[in-house]
Amino acid sequence: MSDKTFEKVAGNGLISRRHLLRFGASGAGLALSAGALGADQGLSFQIPTWSRQPGPGATAYGARSPFADNLQRLAAQPNPTYPGGGSSRSPLQHLQGTITPNSLHFERHHAGVPNIDPSQHMLVINGLVRQPLAFRYEDLLKYQMVSRIHFLECSGNSGALLRGEIGGSAQSLHGLVSCAEWTGVPLSTLLDEAGVLPEAAWVAAVGADAASMGRSIPLTKALDDVMVALYQNGEAVRPGQGYPMRLFCPGWEGNVSVKWLTQIKVTKEPAQFRDETSKYTDTLQDRSSYQFTFPMGTKSLITSPSGQMTLNQPGIYQVTGIAWSGRGSIRQVEVSADGGKTWAEAAIQGHQLDRALTRFTIPWEWDGGDAILQSRATDSRGNLQPTRDEVIASRGTLSFYHNPCIQSWQVDQTGEISNVYV
């Protein structure tokens, strides 16, 4: 490949996104050295056995191909002092598009996953309302619902980069973000039915897990776009995501989207739960601490090529990744192959929805030398994803929630890719 063939738009081999269509038409051949014929590559053109006999018929519940069943979430080791607590991370480097399969959506639990019989579960709304109400699951299914595609991100996601952890993959460092179509009843509908009193300013949401995990949410948000989600990607919300119902607060730190939702108490002040005082708060360098940091930042991540992958040989690769913002849609994603010295605009693949994962891609020619791949997102409000140095300059390294910083993947001359700090 020569510079004459492909228009280079930034340093160290980034190719104009306008060439994407050409690559799409001519396929992977461009990534290989010229002259490799099919037979030389071990291709067989015999009719395969699966084309000679009927396979098994339709099944009641689908399963993955045995040739593609190795994708797993990465679950933390059990901690005896924290029974059921911990998280599992989505395999971002192996996913495509923007919707996370339900079985691979990240999880974060504070006392394990309760096994809830929906006929025995209730959502209670009480506190500063005209009439406290209890809603049965079967009754909530009768309400008019809304469907929205949104990301969900744990505020502890990417905290490893502020701790300066060595190594890691897209999954281990950033796998606490996922995206799904959530369907449910607007919380405002249920609050209106109970009749919110004028002095109300907050709601306290509580789950039915063993920790009865609670979070306080400003009433303005609760009445705006928060929903009681009953479905995820078309099926009932999975137990690990809050079956039979969870709160869903678009764009905000995942912890406020309380799972196994069983109570909404309308209040004047925040409840000051453990998980909004002791946890999910960020201590700054001067030892004061941010509390109630709700919208997640403007963020992007190259998912391929990424940490712990290896490039086989020099050639053209599709750099791809995900971008998201808790404050709007993604306007633009730029990619650098020289550690942030020069940047090229990536193409957006698919939709650019409000507070949803957005897929970006750009072709890159690896010349076999050292490279540092980075991406940075700009959202619809003009917020630009910060560098790690900028994040540290503004808040220090005493806490690790709410980190949106740029990830750097180093490609060495053997093609090995690793997490680095530049």
């Binding site: 029974p83 309400y143 009865s212 209040t267 925040p270 002791s278 601490s289 941010y290 919208p295 005493l398």
Partner: protein, 176 residues
Amino acid sequence: MFKKFFWSAFLLLLAFGPLAVNSQESVRLGIPVTQEDLLDFDLIAPPDGSGFPTGSGTAQEGKQVYDINCAVCHGASGEGTSGNTVIVGGDMQSEGPPLRTVGSYWPYASTLFDFIRRAMPATAPKSLTNEQVYQVTAYVLFMNDIVEEDTQINGDSIREIEMPNANGFIDRSHIQ
């Protein structure tokens, strides 16, 4: 006469018809409940002292409850058995990264009662009586030198407790 009725009905339909079709007014399936119904259900115990049950407890009484139910993870003196289980000590102004515990970091004493009642002990949440939760709350505060050994902790007194890091937080909830 009939014509007049017809036109009235038509106008009524024009005025309210679309509303009836689109609104949620017909689906109101919440079942009315009373605060008394929720006495054992609503565990929220906020800083203003509302939601706290009757009863009280002291650190003296709490030591035994703590030793039996809490020490296995949090250590005999709250020193912890792993990073997240340390509940005593620490100093937000220390030179290195501060050790954040109930004593050094938590802004409200109410959170202690609220959290112990809903989530502790981790292997058997909600197994303590309200009285025992008051006692353990008092004991953890005592181990952090925040109350005396015989201070009665209850829904009234807990409001008055000034935690060392009470003014250490910056509320960012207006950024939405």
